[in-house]
């Protein structure tokens, strides 16, 4: 029977998409999401993105610190390549990061495993492990400086009990960086413990129960359940601790207060050297060039790490 309707109109009503006014629900959700992010994004753009861009521009100028600018192209970058102190600072930074990042991972995870069960004792222990993080970095550095001072520091009074004496923890280039790494670790590990605690609490208890029924030992449980399921947390901890080791506040504050980069430049990490160039010598252009290179290297390493670990996501292969 001809109803006078086109074939298209003959299609069942359900299969005909009804065009709604405005955005689809999915798009509205996107827009809402971006609007929520917008204030933070604007803040980041103004207070991080813009200074970074300006720093990159500054890097191609010779700046005398008194309002004098002269375009020098890539001269500051060339100078960097020839500056032995820059390379020494880069080596010290790499060594500091290589020592600190794995230690932070192991100690943060270790502490989290120790205090993961919820009871009063563990609550106190968690607070104690996190407590250093609540103290000003400058105070931390000054207190440790007193504790490790030659001859009369409390640590130097205790080490003879272990058969070790006469060590200058901050005055000997062989020990100064290790001391700074230790203080940084002491300060930061409570923070990473908290992050790992969050990760551990996300792992369903049923996995452990099932493993125990199958006869798995605690080590097997850790190796085959805990560690794999902590991948996203581990990725986050490694990324953040690496950035902190290279450019974190503790890398500057602790070192600047405890050693000023000495003795003999043995603790002069890149950000301390950059600070010296900018604020002690007024070489703002050169400091900006070094800062730019540091940021670019950090971004590349982060991207590489992200790709290699697939962003710390679970693998279902």
């Amino acid at each position: 029977m001809d109803t006078g309707m086109s074939p298209h109109q003959n299609k069942p009503h359900q299969s005909t998409p009804i065009r709604q006014k405005g955005l689809s629900a999915k798009h509205r959700e996107w827009v809402a999401g971006y609007l929520f992010v917008l204030p933070d994004a604007i803040g980041l753009l103004i207070f991080l993105g813009l200074p970074m861009a300006l720093s990159l521009v500054l890097a191609v100028f010779e700046v005398n610190g008194f309002g004098g600018y002269r375009f020098v192209g890539f001269a500051n970058f060339v100078r960097m390549g020839k500056d032995p102190l820059f390379w020494q600072a880069a080596r010290v930074t790499a060594l500091y990061a290589v020592l600190l990042v794995p230690l932070l991972y192991v100690c943060g995870l270790g502490l989290a495993l120790l205090v993961q069960k919820t009871n009063r004792f563990n609550a106190v222990m968690r607070a104690m492990f996190f407590a250093p993080h609540m103290v000003s970095l400058v105070v931390v550095a000054v207190v440790w400086q007193f504790m490790v001072v030659d001859k009369i520091g409390v640590i130097n009074k205790l080490t003879p009990l272990l058969g070790i004496s006469g060590i200058s923890f901050l005055g000997d280039p062989q020990f100064a960086l290790l001391t700074v790494v230790f203080v940084s670790l002491w300060f930061l590990m409570g923070f990473y413990m908290l992050i790992f605690l969050g990760g551990l609490q996300d792992i369903p208890k049923e996995y452990y129960e099932a493993a125990k029924i199958d006869g798995a030992s605690p080590f097997h449980c850790f190796w085959y359940i805990t560690l794999p399921l902590l991948k996203p947390t581990s990725f986050f901890v490694l990324m953040v601790s690496m950035v902190a080791a290279v450019a974190g506040a503790q890398a500057f504050d602790i070192i600047y207060v405890m050693t000023k980069g000495g003795p003999a430049n043995s603790t002069a990490v890149l950000i301390v050297y950059i600070y010296q160039q900018a604020f002690s010598f007024g070489a703002f252009g050169y400091a900006a060039a070094m800062s730019s290179v540091l940021v670019i290297v950090l971004m590349l390493v982060t991207a590489l790490f992200f790709v290699m670990t697939k962003g710390g996501r679970f693998s279902y292969d």
Binding site: V63, N64, G65, F66, G67, G68, L85, V149, D150, K151, I152, G166, S168, L170, G171, D172, P173, K260, G261, G262, P263, A264, N265, S266, Y275, A278, F279, S280, F281, G282, A283, F284
Partner: protein
């Protein structure tokens, strides 16, 4: 039903928008009428007090120094239309912090400020030091000994007026000497004697002698006399490096030997090796290499501590010489009123007026314990410069004073690294001196600022 939705209080959205627009318009109009006021503020800013940044007052810890600065500013403000205002910056922030550097970088530097010879070239080469010469008469110029004023001058013009001369010496603890069976007759006169006495004074809780260990301008400053005593220099008269010399190697090795022998520490306490209270008076060391300011430090904070001073020992066949530091008033050539700022500096410290001379004498005798940078102030100080430990400085130590060198930051860093590497890094002094000399030559070949002295 009407399209126009009403709000709770009966005002429609359209009405709200209209009223909002009216309010905005009124606000903008008010803002426009405010512009003249803003302009008036700009005019007022031009007549605003000149800012004098320093690390003594009004927030300083030493009352006599706060009083000296406050009185000086009061006297000036009472007699001049252009007022000056003190702005206190903590010492550590002033010397090592970013405040001064960032203020100049942003064109907001202070009108008047203090600099040491170590920093003179950075500011002079940056073009921010105002010529003070037009405000200083010839009689006053002659009142400053050449050795004191030379490193604040370029091409015969004065860019900084020193407020003090601070020669370096050695301080010793009488108690530590007595405990080691020593007395004032055992005060060392040569480097070898100093190391020997220091070893005798060293105990499980105390070092025999203390030199600065923290890298910085101050460490270089304290090391220069040991370089000079053997006839060493870091630069020849024709502007080439003179650092690779037996005198340099000898001076580097002397500090290295002191540390390696265990008689000198690798770390210093308190504010650094310039802090006599935290190191010498606290018993951390028995002898300390420090400047004349140690007298007022100990008088103020360790009154009962018994100590003596003696001049720097010399190497075998060496000649006695010490270094004299000290801060100077300078005016910002890019400040609000450079000429008025320069006039203030000259009025305060470089006039033959009785008050100006007495002000310098008071600073060196009452506010601090320093040697005066002017001959007239030395006379005005009278007995203060002949008695006690200051008398020892005036009579025995100060006559061998050589002015602190003024060097660009690059030269400072090369010398600093050489000292650090040999003193604490255990590097061979000869190789260190050679490597540093090559770096100096490379820098000096391209240096184009005011003469390095």
């Amino acid at each position: 039903m009407s399209d126009i939705k009403t709000l709770g209080n009966g005002i429609s959205r359209r009405q709200l928008i209209r009223k909002g627009a009216l309010l905005t318009g009124a606000g903008m109009a008010a803002g426009l009428t405010g512009f003249p006021y803003i302009n008036r503020m700009a005019v007022r800013a031009q007549a605003a007090p000149l800012k004098f940044w320093q690390f003594y007052a009004p927030g300083g810890q030493v009352k006599s120094q706060v009083d000296w600065f406050t009185k000086m500013i009061g006297d000036w403000n009472d007699s001049h239309d252009q007022k000056v205002e003190l702005e206190y910056v903590p010492n550590a922030e002033y010397i090592n912090g970013p405040k001064l550097a960032t203020s100049f970088a942003s064109g907001e530097g202070p009108d008047i400020f203090l600099i040491s010879p170590g920093d003179f070239l950075r500011y002079y080469n940056g073009g921010v030091l105002q010529d003070l010469t037009p405000h200083i008469d010839d009689a006053t110029k002659a009142d400053f000994p050449e050795s004191v004023i030379a490193n604040r001058m370029v091409d015969g013009k004065i860019y900084g007026i020193p407020m003090e001369v601070e020669p370096m010496a050695m301080y010793y603890s009488v108690k530590a000497f007595e405990e080691a069976g020593l007395n004032e007759n055992d005060v060392p006169k040569t480097w070898d004697e100093l190391l020997e006495v220091a070893r005798k004074l060293t105990t499980p809780n105390r070092y025999g002698v203390l030199f600065e260990t923290t890298p910085g301008y101050y460490q270089n400053f304290t090391w220069y006399p040991f370089l000079w005593q053997g006839g060493g220099e870091f630069q020849t008269k024709d502007g080439k490096s003179a650092f690779d010399s037996p005198a340099t190697v000898q001076a580097l090795k002397f500090w290295q030997d002191a540390v390696n022998s265990g008689a000198a520490p690798r770390q210093v306490l308190g504010n650094g090796a310039n802090d006599t209270v935290a190191n010498l008076a606290a018993g951390y060391c028995a002898i300390q290499n420090v400047g004349i300011w140690g007298i007022s430090q100990l008088a103020g904070n360790a009154k009962d501590f018994k100590y003596g001073v003696f001049k720097l020992p010399t190497p075998a066949n060496g000649k006695y010489v010490t270094v004299g530091g000290g801060w100077a008033f300078v005016a910002n050539a890019k400040g609000k009123s450079p000429d008025a700022a320069a006039q203030f500096c000259a009025w305060a410290l470089a006039s033959m007026d009785k008050d100006s001379v007495q002000r310098v004498a008071d600073w060196c005798t009452k506010a601090k314990s320093d040697m005066p940078p002017r001959n007239s102030a030395l006379q005005a100080g009278g007995d203060a410069f002949t008695q006690g430990n200051i008398g020892t400085f005036a009579k025995n130590i100060h006559p061998g004073t050589r002015a602190e060198p003024r060097v660009p930051p690059e030269v400072y860093k090369i010398i600093s690294d050489a000292i650090q590497q040999s003193q604490l890094g255990g590097a061979d002094p000869q190789q260190t001196a050679t490597a540093a000399s090559q770096q100096l030559d490379a820098f000096l070949a391209s240096y184009s600022g005011a003469p390095i002295l």
